[in-house]
């Protein structure tokens, strides 16, 4: 189904949870949600819409805040759920209890941007070396040691 139709369908059920939403082209949709509502929104995607495929999580440091983009795949549409986190002590509840495929993606965001995922079963380093104490390389103010 076209991205617009999908977005309309999601809005019908999730209503006020969906903040700003836009459709840049037929196979793409974006919408933002409040960070404390992310878990509930994704739970609804999985249980009520049977949208289970999380393609990945992108973390972006804009300089003022951190953006997390959760890219989902539903048939012909790739839609992105966007949340923002403060740069100081960024923290969000894990999705691994509802989307097991998020296990490695959350670990990677934890490595590279320092986001804490509450209740994640294992946040040990995924791509950075053991004992790495030189910070999170994808933060804007990071410089190589």
């Amino acid at each position: 189904m076209p991205a617009r139709t999908l977005l309309k369908k999601l809005k019908g059920v999730l209503g006020e949870h969906i903040g700003q939403a836009w459709v840049p082209r037929p196979h793409r949709a974006f919408f933002s949600v409040r960070r404390d509502e992310l878990h509930d929104v994704v739970e609804a995607l999985v249980n009520r819409f049977d949208i289970k495929h999380l393609s990945t999580i992108t973390g972006v440091d804009t300089g003022e805040e951190l953006e997390l983009l959760y890219h989902f795949w539903d048939y012909d549409v790739c839609f992105t759920v966007k949340i923002t986190l403060p740069r100081e002590k960024p923290c969000i509840k894990t999705l691994t209890d509802i989307v097991p495929g998020a296990l490695f993606y959350e670990r990677e965001v934890h490595d590279l941007l320092g986001v804490e995922f509450e209740e994640h079963p294992d946040l040990s380093p995924l791509v950075l070396p053991d004992g790495w104490e030189e910070g999170h390389p994808l933060l804007k103010d990071w410089s190589p040691p």
Binding site: S55, V99, V127
Partner: protein, 361 residues
């Protein structure tokens, strides 16, 4: 009761083609739990891309993976072209697609040799790697390189196909198709190969979906999903092809899916060569990329490859995120290995077609 042990394998180990760290908790001959440690070939490419101009970044993304380099540049170019709002000449899109499919054949044949070798069927490895040379020869003729072809550029492709190439490639494709049919018969009837792969590394449809698995691995578990058809890019909308699926969800099914995909790829290339549009192969592009964010998705040989590109209007990308298909599939490996025989570990791991350099970046 059999003794419980922890067996570490890797990051350096003769059975591994690339560095990856495993810790298997076993009881007797059975695997209870698997822990995977990656990052041994993490090169910080996403950070490095932010410090390069777009054109430099293009050459770096080509080097994310040594096997499927073209698919990475395809994803990156498409994303940047979308930011620019460019219309790409149809001939360029066809050439991109042809190289994508040649690359898929080369990747699948390479993998078929690896799984053959892991299953104790070394002759298969010899056969498929010989035939893979046919594809590499075609790629070399087209681009000048056996790997890292550097065919893509923003606004189109850097090479054009000559009429002599358009005429000579199909003959060699005939050979590859014939061989693929032979391999299909071989892997489904050869007693040793079937015994080593049938029922091994089982992944149910539901578990595959829960772990967000992609590519031939999920298609072999009965999920009909392929970016080329679902979210068409390049010239895929105009090419007739079947999305190959199987329902068994084991290593044998993954093998059959990949061999059948080789046959589909051969047919697609033949069709694309036959219907190759005339005209330009690239358009000129501005150096500055307008601000915006895009998601570019493609079907790499191993599955969905996704690029997120954010531009702030300067000559360098503000953020490029790459998620290679191996990272998506690796999450399911500990699950597939639960209860497996130690001797089956190499087959289960190889069956998802690992590319560690891709996954680590």
């Amino acid at each position: 009761m059999a003794q419980r042990l922890v067996i570490p394998i890797g990051p350096q180990h003769p059975a591994l083609k690339e560095p990856l760290g495993f810790r298997f908790r076993v009881e007797g001959e059975r695997v209870l739990e698997t822990h995977i440690r990656m990052g041994y070939v993490h090169r910080g490419i996403e950070r490095a891309l932010q410090e390069r101009s777009y054109i430099q970044a293009l050459y770096l993304v080509e080097r994310v993976c040594g096997i499927c380099s073209h698919i990475h540049t395809t994803a990156f170019c498409q994303g940047v072209e979308e930011l620019l709002g460019l219309e790409i000449p149809p001939r360029a899109l066809y050439i991109r697609t042809i190289v994508c499919e040649l690359e898929r054949i080369h990747s699948h044949l390479l993998w078929l040799g690896v799984i053959g070798r892991d299953a104790g069927f070394e002759t298969l490895f010899m056969y498929t790697w010989r035939d893979r040379e046919t594809v590499l020869d075609i790629l070399e003729e087209i681009s000048g390189n056996r790997i890292n072809y550097a065919v893509n550029t923003f606004g189109g492709v850097r090479i054009d196909l000559t009429s002599a190439q358009i005429e000579s490639i199909p003959k060699r494709l005939d050979y590859l198709e014939e061989q693929a049919h032979y391999y299909l018969k071989l892997v489904t009837t050869e007693a040793t190969f079937v015994a080593r792969t049938h029922g091994v590394g089982y992944l149910s449809r539901e578990d595959g979906r829960a772990f967000c698995v992609v590519g031939p691995t999920i298609r072999a578990s009965g999920v009909d999903r392929d970016v080329r058809r679902d979210d068409p890019y390049a010239a895929y909308e105009e090419l007739p092809f079947q999305v190959v699926t199987a329902t068994e969800g084991d290593a044998l099914a993954r093998t059959v899916v990949r061999v059948k995909e080789v046959i589909e790829s051969v047919r697609m290339i033949r069709h694309a060569l036959h219907n190759l549009p005339e005209g330009e192969v690239r358009v000129r592009v501005r150096r500055r990329i307008p601000p915006g964010e895009v998601i570019s998705r493609v079907e790499a040989p191993r599955g969905e490859l996704i690029y997120y590109i954010k531009s702030d209007g300067t000559e360098r990308p503000a953020r490029v995120k790459i998620r290679a298909p191996t990272l998506a599939n690796m999450v399911a490996v500990p699950h597939m290995l639960k209860g497996a025989h130690i001797a089956d570990i190499p087959i289960v791991v190889a069956a998802i077609d690992l590319c560690i350099a891709c996954a680590d970046r």
